[in-house]
């Protein structure tokens, strides 16, 4: 038995080594399946919970144009959640289980959504920085080894660039506005910069999951590599519109051809993950409430379907 397991693992890893994609019915080690369910469901939950800070601004968007854009973006986020849930379901876990894991706290969502969207500039910062950081991660994941996950990522990446551009446009407009608008944009930048860097997770030296994930090509780039990529492309964008990056240690390293940055506050990161962020409670309560309030819709749909079935058979 043990030998069979070892043979299975060896064959699996050879396949991965050769660059083959893994599909739902292929044999895979339990650890691979478990890692994927954890990562993909966390990713799906993040898309869905991420609708909340933005939804907060739909009724107060400053123009009809801005409102239409925000609605379309939020709809996309919901869609991205659905792509990812359905990709995770190919691993044999049901949607109910995934939602239950979210509600019981067994499954996490991205820490960033435990921060509030306080002003309209925050909608700009979320699109530009938060989606910008997400894109860097998602572009890398397009080459992940699990077929359905990779395909979902390709689809998501096609849509995300609109999200980032609309956010940057909001920031650029505000930075071209009055002193108050500029201050508002800079304030949003100051609050979202560090949490955005934290989105990539702990430093490689402290990251507990990386070994298997790399060998099995679930992850293709390390947390620090991705974070660096994000910083390097964002600094210039900030400069163009006159925003200051709130990091006094940020400076170009000519030798390494990239930016050095200051110390990330990991204490805050772990504190927020642990449940003590500004909005953890609110986000989860909202999701649970809406889920429960929507139960009658699902029941009505089932009843309608049963009735149709019944009249067809009668």
């Amino acid at each position: 038995m043990e030998q069979a397991q070892e043979t299975l693992l060896r064959e699996f890893e050879e396949k991965i080594e050769c660059g083959f994609a893994i599909e739902p019915k292929d044999k895979m080690p339990a650890g691979y399946r478990k890692h994927l369910v954890r990562q993909m469901s966390q990713h799906a939950h993040s898309e869905v919970i991420g609708m909340q800070p933005e939804g907060n601004w739909v009724t107060r968007a400053p123009s009809l144009r801005a409102k239409q854009i925000l609605l379309a973006k939020i709809q996309d986020e919901g869609g991205h959640g659905l792509y990812l849930y359905s990709a995770a379901e190919t691993l044999g876990v049901s949607r109910d289980e995934l939602i239950e894991q979210l509600h019981t706290g067994k499954a996490k969502y991205s820490n960033i959504f435990n921060y509030p969207a306080l002003s309209w500039a925050d909608i700009g910062a979320i699109g530009w920085l938060v989606d910008g950081a997400a894109i860097v991660n998602q572009v890398s994941l397009q080459r992940t080894s699990y077929g359905p996950y990779s395909r979902a990522m390709v689809r998501i990446c096609k849509e995300e660039s609109f999200h980032q551009r609309q956010g940057y446009e909001i920031m650029a407009k505000m930075m071209a506005g009055t002193a108050d608008q500029k201050a508002m944009a800079q304030d949003a930048m100051n609050r979202w910069w560090w949490p955005s860097l934290m989105m990539f997770g702990p430093h490689d030296s402290d990251s507990p999951h990386t070994g298997d994930a790399f060998r099995w090509k679930i992850k293709r780039h390390s947390n620090d590599e991705l974070r660096q990529k994000f910083i390097d492309k964002t600094v210039q964008q900030a400069e163009v519109i006159g925003l200051t990056i709130p990091d006094k240690d940020l400076k170009w390293n000519e030798e390494k051809k990239c930016y050095d940055h200051g110390e990330i506050n990991w204490e805050e990161f772990y504190r927020v993950i642990g449940g003590d962020g500004p909005c953890n409670k609110q986000r989860m309560e909202h999701h649970i409430r809406v889920h429960n309030e929507g139960a009658w819709v699902r029941e009505a749909a089932e009843a309608y379907s049963a009735k149709q079935q019944y009249s067809k058979n009668a």
Binding site: K27, Y83, A295
Partner: protein
């Protein structure tokens, strides 16, 4: 149907333009055919990705087994007469 009735799973196939193959886009949840089509449109064609959609209950899909791949997809390379280059054409024949 499951404990908290998240509705049945359907597979979505999309044709990008008339004449193209239908390609698997992903899956959705729905309680009936009409809702399945509607959800498939909302989820997988928000930017004109499709001009036609098929939805199929996932439970109705029959899939081959990866363990049988060797035998099932044997390329039958010994049957070289399946390829046009196997045949000897008379000297001088054109457009064949």
């Amino acid at each position: 149907m499951t404990a908290d009735n998240q509705l049945d799973v359907w597979e979505v196939f999309m044709q990008s333009k008339p004449g193209a193959n239908y390609i698997h886009a992903g899956s959705i949840h729905a309680s009936d055919k009409q809702m399945a089509l509607q959800n498939a449109r909302d989820t997988y064609s928000r930017r004109g990705e499709g001009t036609s959609i098929w939805v199929v209950p996932s439970s109705a899909i029959v899939a081959s087994n990866p363990e049988d791949n060797g035998m099932f997809f044997d390329p039958a390379n010994d049957k070289i007469y399946r390829h046009p280059t196997f045949y000897v054409m008379p000297e001088g024949a054109k457009a064949i």
